[in-house]
Amino acid sequence: MDTSRHPDANSSAAPAADDLIVVPRRQYGIWIGTAVTLLVAFFIVQAFVQNPAFAWDTAGRYLFHPQIMRGLGNTLILTVIIMALAIVVGTIVAIMRVSRSPILRAFASAYVWFFRGVPALIQLIFWFNLALLVREFSLTLPFVGTVFSIRTNDFMTPFFSAVVALALCEAGYMAEIIRAGIKSVPPGQSEAASALGMPYRMILKRIVLPQAMRFVVPPTGNEAINLLKMTSLVTFIAVDDLFYSAQAIYARTFETIPLLIVVAFWYLTVVSIMSVGQYMLESHFGRSDGTGFSVGRILRNAIGLRGATS
């Protein structure tokens, strides 16, 4: 009990507050849990170190293998392109979902329903085999004739199919995230903007979307990390990503486990870097909360209007 602030209220017989000894609660459950966890961790490490089948030195040799590096590069390029497209398409679909037109809303709902509902692997193989459905794309104008014609197989390369399939699929998830973000902005914000004479598109761009960002960034970071891992599906249509490159090597050398370790290592490394990036983005968009840091704000406060007011 804190009685130090009222020393007079303390009767002289009782000891002063500082003399009282605090005995911490015994947390037996935590002690037992800690012991068991340490034991399990020890066995896991031991198994990893002692089992020769892991062949750590082999893994080490392949870590920077040119073929692995190229695969890693392709995985990163795929992730970036697909995520960028998914954010653009997802934003458009999200805006359609909050539109006043019931047709646009229905179309957007159908999009999300379909592309979130069908497994990514199936969409991937479907786009890869688009030629079975549509033989060629052509643009024919009256009086001019065929201006442009291309056989589906000529442009639906494995890489291109992977981009289209996964971007459309990911856009379904992004649309839901962005829509939730838009809904999280209080309606008073757009009302105030309307009352100031801002047109609808400006309100979206300047008022609603920036505020939605705060709610959109954390799940988008998760999506990007998921997507990075999801790109390993492109192995099925022979795009030489990280996993495919590793497979190509162990199919030849039978060093399966070491190469899987290499793959896991690189995925973990990239995911860790992405987590840091996500944290920084969150800080940036959370700056009006007073929780984050913002270089711009610090500068403004340092050199800004302070001088003019005092």
Partner: protein
């Protein structure tokens, strides 16, 4: 052929806001059942009434945040949201409606400052983007307005760092930055702690003295009596009584007005 619709619909020439028979329904619920009001330029009209009486809805009709179901509503001689051609009202395009709204300032019960922008950002946003005012000029205006509401030192703060009273004062500066012809106040002090009400009312009093045309929906009877040029009592979607604030508050003619006043005073 540009005849001021004011003369045509029997509105006084100096009417900044003129409403005749304004009706508004939400589905089957009729919230406004024919509201008439004349607010001459440079005067302050205060609207009081119990909650659900339609006073906020009426205010939102003035800048077309709510679409009228019927009646005539003119701001500075123009239909808001419509264009009158050959006895037909054509709905305005978004850009034109925005131009009209830019001339009508509005203050909200919950301030509605843009929470991702600083005080300065809030004030210069609309002048710079809607009116294309150069940044330096917009900033100067903002500083001048913040001096008027006594908040220059908060120029780089975010709304959440301000008290409710300060937020509402910034909101007033933001509305004034568009140099509006008329300001609409939708219960501007209802969300404030009692000790913060005074600072906002003081800013509003100063505005009224500069000749700003104001329509104020409020529960502050004292403010209405002191600053208002006319007082309107609304109940169940109609204006029950109107007149000089001092006289009406002292001797209400309608028993409903009397009953309402006895409850809030």
């Amino acid at each position: 052929m540009t005849i001021d619709p004011r003369s045509r619909f029997g509105a006084p020439e100096d009417a900044m806001v003129f409403a005749r028979g304004v009706r508004k329904s939400f589905g089957p619920l009729e919230v406004l059942k024919g509201v008439d009001i004349v607010v001459p330029t440079g005067t302050v009209a205060c609207i009081i009434g119990p909650s659900g009486s339609g006073k906020s809805t009426f205010l939102r009709c003035i800048n077309h945040l709510e679409k009228l179901t019927g009646g005539i509503l003119l701001v500075d001689g123009e239909f808001v949201g419509y264009e009158l051609r050959q006895d037909k009202l054509y709905e305005l395009k978004d850009v034109d409606l925005c131009k009209q709204r830019a001339e009508i300032g509005m203050l909200f019960q919950n301030f509605n400052l843009f929470s991702h922008m600083t005080v300065l950002g809030n004030i210069v946003e609309a002048p710079m983007r809607v009116r294309r005012t150069p940044a330096a000029e917009a900033r100067q205006d903002a500083v001048r307005l913040l001096e008027r509401v006594g908040l220059v030192d908060k120029i780089n703060s975010y709304p959440r760092e301000l008290s409710g009273g300060q937020q509402q004062r910034v909101a007033i500066a933001r509305a004034m930055a568009m140099k509006p012809k008329v300001l609409l106040f939708d219960e501007p002090t209802s969300a404030l702690d009692p000790e913060l009400v005074g600072e906002v009312l003081q800013v509003m009093r100063d505005l009224a003295q500069t000749g700003m045309t104001m329509v104020v929906v409020t529960h502050e009877i004292g403010f209405a009596r002191e600053v208002g040029d006319q007082l309107l009592f609304m109940d169940e979607g109609v204006v029950v009584e109107r007149g000089d604030p001092r006289e009406m508050i002292a001797n209400p003619k309608s028993p409903r007005t009397a009953e309402f006043l006895s409850r809030v005073l």
